[in-house]
């Protein structure tokens, strides 16, 4: 036993070298506990010893049932709980799959009024944040672990002194989405003479709210209704990727993207410096440098008849502004202008244009405004000043990490606050500088609520008992206010008092409460919309810079503001545009790269003028980017808060500074010089052109509407010479609508979580060994300067005449009677022949025994899916475990399987609803209808391998090019 133990430990260390993020493991932790199951696996000792290790030791296995049975609680049977995602401040509805009393998978809640069934990549990865080794295990006082009583005693003593002395107590929070928590914070602050809540977001929309304060007299962020818009003009607003409510926006946007939707296809024009995910989906793009955005808006406003002063604009841009203005005029009342600049003048211009064009009430909802971004940069600036002056006696950090994500001045001022308390879950940069740590529950352990959009209150219920000695923030504030209360109690009381009366449909609170728990949200009435006020646009007119580089800071789809940078899943999610993982970088346009003599991976030193901080970043040559813009992603360069995020990329937050009270993401001018050496970026896709291959079909809207049949591909693959094998009760098929798919990558992480797909680390991605079963191929068409972008989700095509199946010597991959291309892990000997012979290259091989050392992290594994050992091939199975479960349920209930009951994970959470899956033998199923769509085509159908996955031609709402015939390939 002892020898084995040491062998296993050695193996553990060998394995620890494999993934990048494992390198940071403290030495003490890499010597991990050897559990029973570790005996069964071998790697790390010689082959003969391996055979010996493979022999199961005669360990006694325990069987530990519940002590008490409970109604409706069956081991091995999944329960779904409606709750609300706490991954960001969008407040999406989530269905959490609970197995044996712990959450294993999160999915979109189709009944949730805001997200309507979608869930983004960050949301999908949240269970991994729950089972995270880096979480704080309990409260800390001055760096030492203490129990809650000790922490509370210390705090009570200090707070009492402050209550007596009247010292200033501030709570600095990211947007507090939960009304109950907000109430708890306020009631805590009310116990002080000088207590105030300051909300500040890392990715702020404060200027937008401030603009509405000027135009409508109310600090609000409107709720944009993209589904109502015939024309969407986005200006530096990555609303499909990271801006305010990406999932809700994508869901609404996709409702109008496609020629065969109930309502006509919308047109989307994006004006931006970099190429954002949103821009990649636009029908038309206008490239401009960040400093030209406000002049562009001014020109637009003037064109639309507003009296605005404005600077000159280059002729080309002016013409574009005129064209867009014309489009907006045409779609008056049904257009929408969105702006992501954190610039009060820009936002006021947008607000006034939207008002002038009559968008309020249709596409801009002011009656039920969004509450997803409530941060006020000016309040933060004031707080920093206060702190620097030594006026703040206690600062409590709630759901924010200001030392990391706010300007450098914050850190200096923060040190002057005597009582610094953080409620963060991990010991992040700010928490590390705190005197008191009072870790909150992970949201999956907490009773919470959320009001993402006024009138829509969403409930969050815990999925398991807290794993660690953490305490709900509501309870913490209650305790410190001297009014201990349980979070559930506080929540129910708040709902009874504030939410329940807001509706009239249900008369009984318990019924209302239970319905809200099951549905995930409740809707209540709201007041009327604020009235418009005429006025002069604030601020001086701007003049766009004519030369020099400008910095554009943006957030990545996978990492957002960087708070989840310690989740390896998100670090390894390929950026939808650059396809790079595990890094941020300086994106420059191809023309700029030529001018600077740079190639992908070369190091570039960047420093905005007047800043001391210079960062050296690798270059990514980004087609479609403005030639003077250098784009850098925020959210990287974490120095604390979890090992996976440490040392990955560089932190660009400190470059932001308050300009007239707001933190702008655009910084000019920028000094650019070449760095030394180059970096091998971990990209999952290196080749961006389709090489003239008809792998993706595209078509303009007008010719399609004239003759939909013209979309049908000319060459239809003929029948197999062998004839077909009979199919069983079902025959599964999938169709992916390329017009709808935005490339948001939620499906990628959803698939990864559902199927226990390992994260491999930066080095392995560099070696092109990422494991994603579902990837999104991104191709550029057209010119480098103005490329068209196509996102094509690529997964196992479940071919009927699968080339992979023929070649496996041991029958580890064979066809099922339901048309699935089955991969049997336990039979696989790992010749990799199947992967070689796969024309789609969707098969993934376990090159190593991937590190699954942490028992805590393993709790997040789907218990229904085998965790593959090294040397085994794996690939998309159409989530066969979910199909089996759905079939089993139907059979156990003695009925036929209903259409839409069996869903793969990717389809379930797709915010754009771009994926249709079902039984093609059922003539009434949705899939059968979609399969008849003339837009349908097969990728590599000419090989005659009969893929079960097909795609719908991407329709672009553009004027057809003259050369364009009825059909056309990319």
């Amino acid at each position: 036993m002892k020898t084995w133990r040491s062998l296993g430990e050695r193996r553990g260390m060998v394995r620890a070298r494999k993934a990048e993020f494992e390198d940071e493991l403290p030495a003490g932790e890499s010597v991990r506990q050897i559990s029973r199951r570790d005996f069964f696996r071998f790697s790390g000792v010689g082959f003969a010893a391996g055979l010996a290790l493979g022999c199961k030791s005669k360990v006694v296995e325990k069987a530990m049932p519940y002590l008490n049975a409970r109604e409706g609680l069956t081991p091995g049977v999944a329960q779904w709980y409606a709750t609300t995602c706490g991954g960001c401040t969008a407040g999406c509805g989530v269905l959490a799959r609970s197995r044996d009393g712990r959450p294993v998978k999160l999915e979109g809640n189709p009944e949730h009024p805001v997200s309507r069934g979608g869930l983004c990549a960050i949301g999908q990865a949240q269970t991994r944040g729950l089972y995270d080794e880096d979480r704080l295990r309990g409260p800390k006082l001055a760096g030492k672990a203490v129990d809650w009583a000790a922490l509370d005693a210390d705090l009570q003593r200090r707070f009492s002194e402050l209550r007596a002395s009247g010292g200033a107590v501030r709570v600095l929070a990211g947007t507090i989405l939960s009304p109950t928590l907000r109430a708890a914070v306020h009631s805590f602050l009310d116990t002080f003479k000088d207590g105030r809540l300051v909300e500040a977001d890392a990715l702020s929309a404060a200027a937008l709210a401030a603009a509405y304060q000027r135009t409508h007299g109310q600090w609000l962020v409107p709720h944009y209704r993209l589904e109502e818009a015939d024309l969407i003009v986005g200006i530096e607003a990555d609303f499909l990727g990271t801006w305010i409510d990406p999932v809700g926006f994508t869901r609404a946007y996709a409702e109008r993207r496609g020629p065969d939707k109930p309502r006509p296809m919308s047109k989307h024009i994006q004006v931006e410096g970099g190429l954002s995910l949103t821009g990649s989906n636009a029908d038309e793009r206008v490239r401009l440098a960040p400093s030209e955005a406000v002049p562009f808006l001014e020109a637009l406003a003037r064109q639309l008849g507003l009296t605005v002063e404005g600077g000159a604009l280059p002729t080309a841009l002016a013409a574009k502004a005129q064209a867009i203005a014309h489009e907006l005029e045409t779609h008056r009342g049904h257009g929408l202008l969105l702006c992501g600049l954190n610039d009060p003048r820009a936002q006021e211009l947008v607000a006034r244009i939207n008002h002038a064009l009559g968008h309020e009430g249709t596409t801009v909802d002011l009656a039920r405004p969004s509450l997803q971004k409530r941060g006020d940069d000016r309040a933060l600036e004031a707080l920093v000043r206060e702190m620097a002056e030594g006026k703040v006696a206690a600062l409590l950090l709630l759901g924010c990490n200001p030392i990391y994500e706010q300007p450098a001045a914050f850190a200096g001022a923060f040190a002057k606050v005597p009582i610094r308390l953080s409620l963060a879950l991990t010991e992040d940069e700010s928490a590390a500088a705190c005197t008191h740590l009072a870790p909150d529950h992970h949201w999956l352990e907490a009773w919470r609520d959320a009001e993402p959009v006024a009138g829509t209150v969403s409930l969050a219920q815990p999925l398991l008992q807290p794993l660690f000695a953490t305490r709900d923030a509501v309870e913490s504030f209650g305790a410190w206010a001297g009014r201990p209360v349980s979070a559930l109690q506080a929540l129910r009381e708040h709902w009874k008092a504030a939410v329940f009366p807001g509706q009239k449909a249900v008369g009984d609170f318990e019924t209302f409460w239970n319905a809200a728990l099951q549905k995930g949200a409740a809707q209540v009435d709201t007041g009327p919309a604020p009235r418009y006020r005429e006025g002069r646009v604030e601020g001086a007119p701007r003049i766009g810079r004519k030369d020099g580089y400008e910095l554009l800071l943006y957030a990545k789809v996978g990492l957002g503001d960087g708070r989840h940078a310690h989740l390896p899943f998100l670090q390894e999610l390929p950026d939808p545009i650059t396809k790079a993982t595990w890094d941020n970088y300086a994106q420059v346009s191809p023309a700029a790269a030529v001018k600077l003599g740079l190639e992908q991976g070369d190091l570039l030193r960047l420093r905005p003028e007047g800043h001391a901080l210079e960062l050296e970043l690798p270059v990514v040559v980004q087609p479609g980017q403005d030639d003077r813009t250098v784009a850098v992603a925020l959210g990287y360069g974490r120095t604390a808060g979890g090992k996976a995020g440490l040392g990955v990329g560089k932190n660009a937050y400190p470059w932001r500074a308050f300009t007239s009270g707001f933190l702008a993401a655009e910084v000019a001018p920028l000094q650019v010089r070449r760095g030394q050496g180059r970096v091998d970026l971990a990209c999952t896709q290196d080749h961006h052109s389709l090489e003239g291959r008809e792998l993706v079909r595209e078509m303009a809207l007008a010719p399609y509407l004239r003759d939909p049949a013209s979309a049908r591909p000319h060459e239809q693959p003929g029948p197999s010479v062998y004839g077909e094998h009979p199919h069983g009760a079902h025959r599964w098929a999938m169709v992916i609508d390329l017009s709808a798919c935005t490339g948001c990558s939620g499906c990628v992480i959803g698939c990864q979580v559902e199927n226990n797909i390992p994260v491999v680390g930066r080095d392995e991605v560099r070696r092109k060994r990422e494991m994603h079963w579902l990837r999104i191929d991104r191709y550029y068409t057209g010119s480098e300067a103005e490329p068209g972008v196509v996102h094509q989700p690529m997964l196992c095509q479940q071919c009927d005449q699968a080339p992979c199946e023929n070649v496996c010597p041991v029958l580890a991959t064979v066809h099922s009677e339901e048309g699935l291309n089955q991969q049997v892990y336990n039979r696989c000997v790992g010749t990799r022949y199947c992967a070689n012979n796969c024309p789609y290259k969707v098969r993934r091989f376990n090159w190593w025994e991937y590190p699954h050392a942490s028992e805590l992290e393993r709790l997040g594994f789907n218990p229904d899916v085998t965790v593959r050992s090294r040397g085994v091939m794996e690939k998309c199975s159409f989530c066969v475990q979910r199909l089996m479960e759905a079939k089993l349920t139907a059979k156990n209930e003695g009925r036929e399987l209903k259409d839409g009951e069996a869903l793969p994970a990717c389809m379930q959470s797709c915010p754009a609803q771009a994926i249709v899956f079902g039984d093609m033998q059922d003539p009434d199923s949705r899939i059968s209808q979609v399969l008849r769509d003339p837009k349908r085509f097969l990728v590599l159908g000419e090989l005659g391998i009969g893929p079960a996955v097909s795609y719908l031609t991407k329709i672009r709402n553009v004027a057809p090019r003259p050369t364009e015939g009825g059909h056309h390939g990319a």
Binding site: R37, C55, K56, A63, Y66, L73, S720, Q801, E805, E855
Partner: protein, 394 residues
Amino acid sequence: MSSTEHLHRSRFRASFADPEQLLHAVKHLRTAGHRVLDTYTPFPVHGMDEAMGLRPSRLPRACLAFAVLGLALAAGLQIWTSAVDYPLITGGKPLLAIPAFIPVAFELTVLLAGLGVVASFFLVARMRPRLRIPDLHAGANDDRFILAAELAADIQFPAVAQELAGLGALDSGLLVEDRFQRRSAFWDRPAGVGALLLACLPAFLLLALVPVLNRDFQRRNLAWDGGMGAPLSAQAYDASGVLPSGKVLQAPPPDTLSRHGEPPLAFGPGKAEAERAGRELQNPYQPTQARFNRGKLVFERVCATCHGREGDNNGSVIVARGAFAPTVLVSPLVRDMPDGRLFHVATFGGPTKMKGYGDLLSREDRWQVVLYIRELQKAAKPAAAPAQATGAQP
């Protein structure tokens, strides 16, 4: 060669330095009426077969037979395993994909033909591993060409020796008995080989029987796992090193409500609550055949263990032990109870010994059991009720 006891009086040998001479000598001896037994040469001498009058070997026929066997085996194996024994579809190809079977069929044909003909050769030429071989015909594997023959009747050896010398024989003499045919080592003889194999047998049998004979049923077998045999994901009933109470199975936090879960009942245990349930609760289900069947199934599985299949207190536990006397379900007392009260009893238990089954049986099942009890009561003869009402309390 010192002893002459083993000399065959009629057999002799002669050695030559040149194959042509040997050939000539063989021809000569045969014409002279001697029987040439064999020749021993360092390489095959062409024309010797004819000179000795040997018939062509039948090994090609053996080769063909083995080839046919190989082909049949390959065809049979491939067809039977791929299309009959475990038909699995790969690449949409037919199960009986004859073209795909050709390569293996060919290889196995060649393999069996080759191995078969070699084995046949060894067998007919009596070639097998030997420990000791006397050097009977010295130089036959080097540079001597030797013949062995039997004297024709009436001819004496010295005359023949004379003739042979004339033909170029380097030496000749009467033949020493072929000793290794008789006096070879034991292990060189078939019996020795057989004995060797039989000697190994017990060891193998023992190894094969180890799992059967030497079993410690208290402990698990030693088993070899090529991978993925033990779960990495947390499975129900397993122990856990990180979850509270050390087990994977966790109770969901109190007061949470799953999407398709039942909201908590608005009743508690106790007689007062039972009576309130009787007043307030209605059976939400109407009796149908399906519900009757399900109610019967659940009743007989759980309730009947004590209450008896007919609700007559005749359950298997009662029959075997008879220690309690539960309430007779078909008694007028129970008949008169409202559905809600029966449901409450099924959920929270009776006032004395019966425990509630609300934790084990779904709400729907409990209502269906109530439906079934009503059917039982209808079916039971009213007179049968007050039979033995010793402890008959609800």
